[in-house]
């Protein structure tokens, strides 16, 4: 029932740096890849292309995003210290990582309770000013659920391993997960701070049968945009005063010019006569 946002330990972080520097750098095109461990009760090692990426990776842990060049990656999750050739708890071959993509790979249970790997593409498109994106992902061994925000169903009938997303007014909400079509709370409520311009991604993970369902959250920021305008005046008095001044100036100028010409021509006429 807790929102888990633990970050990675030093060992695993160093291993990630090692991987990132072992491959050619294309900084502009690199993808952001995060990994979430959502298989209960199993501390694991994670291998990428045969190299140890994460060691002693604990359930509920989300890594910081790593910059990876585009390409295809073989992912393998093993028991701790099983080695690169050890038995796989779960593996995925040729996972495509497109250039510039923002991806979270989740090791989790499928609906039947078997470990699986699911890569989710994180929506980092621009968000309207004042709004926040909420994404919910069903990665738990559990039936279809509804996700409620402040007691109202926001997403209905969500099944493993699918996701739903919506842009909402930013701010705090209280979210919970209920069995689809019921008021039976499976998870939560949890308070979520939906920060403006960011995508808050909530994962339901664990197993309903084993009664260890949990929530994990990930936040991706920087998709903000500017408001549509600054409508900072609705009186018109300042413009009216400007216009009055302007017309006064124009009138005076015109009268003066006309007067001068008239006076000049009178003088000329008098001289002629």
């Amino acid at each position: 029932m807790s929102v888990t946002t633990r970050t990675l330990g030093a060992t695993a972080a160093m291993a990630l740096v090692g991987l990132a520097s072992a491959v050619p750098a294309h900084a502009a095109e690199d993808a952001h890849v995060s990994i979430l461990h959502g298989v209960p009760d199993a501390t694991v090692d994670v291998y990428v292309n045969g190299e140890a990426l994460l060691e002693d990776f604990e359930p509920g842990t989300l890594t910081d995003p790593q910059m990876l060049p585009e390409g295809e990656y073989d992912l393998k999750v093993t028991a701790p210290d099983a080695g690169a050739d050890g038995d796989a708890i779960v593996e995925a071959m040729d996972v495509a990582v497109p250039a510039g993509a923002n991806i979270t790979v989740v090791a989790h249970l499928d609906a039947d309770g078997e470990p699986t790997l699911t890569p989710f593409v994180n929506d980092t498109s621009e968000i309207e000013a004042g709004k926040a994106r909420l994404t919910v992902r069903h990665t738990a061994a559990a039936p279809a659920v509804d996700v409620r925000a402040n007691g109202e169903v926001a997403f209905s009938g969500l099944t493993n391993p699918n996701e739903e997303s919506a842009d909402l007014p930013s701010g705090s909400i209280s979210a919970d997960v209920v069995l689809a079509g019921t008021d039976t709370v499976a998870l939560g409520p949890a308070d979520l701070d939906l920060a403006e311009g960011s995508n808050t991604i909530v994962y339901a993970w664990g197993s309903a049968e084993d009664e260890n369902l949990k929530l994990a959250t990930q936040s991706i920021s920087g998709m903000h945009s500017a408001p549509d305008g600054v409508p900072s005046g609705d009186g018109g008095q300042v413009a009216a005063a400007d216009q009055a001044g302007r017309y006064a100036l124009v009138t005076l100028g015109a009268l003066a010019a006309g007067g001068l010409v008239l006076a000049g021509s009178r003088r000329t006429a008098r001289q002629r006569s």
Partner: protein, 222 residues
Amino acid sequence: MSTHRAPRGRVGPALLAAVLVGVVLLWLTRPVGDDPAVVNAAVAGEGGSPPSPSAAAPVVQAAPTPTTPEATETPGPPTRLAIPALAATLPVTPVGVSEQGAMEIPDDPRTAGWYRYGPGPGEAGATVLTAHVDSRERGPGPLAGLRTLDSGDELTVTADGQPHRYRVLEVYTAGKDELDLDAVFRRDGREALHVVTCGGAFDAATGHYEDNVVAVAEPISE
């Protein structure tokens, strides 16, 4: 016949002169915005600034980190804007975005709004403060004088009880369609203060001004 011709002959050129001068004056005094390219470069922090030691130093920007596990420590919201050159002090309240997607602005022109989703004083990017130039009910406010500020005029924003002093670099007028709002509301880059109000002609049909007036100011390093 000839007695009438003479005065008519004099009145004609006089009228012509009056009309000509009137037209020229109308044209000269028409409300006109500044070059949008210049305005947008300035609000984007790309120009208009005299080289200062901090600005001259190469800007090394850390790679943007896409995740923020914890919200970074933010300074308190601005509470006061002082403009000595206009003998004006405006209370400041945090504002967001209206249902129409525009920046919210306090109803009273004597109160300024701070765009609370953007940076505050002391943070990278532009702190945006806005007040109505005037309102139907309450008439003109202090920012009616914003366009008269000169570069070098000082502005003080109080946040967390601390004064943050700024120096006006430029004051611009730009058509609302031409103003680069991403630049006005930028959340990274050089620290700046953008004080925004309305200006130019008033469209009575829509109830809105046609231009925005933007004062771009930079922090005065203590």
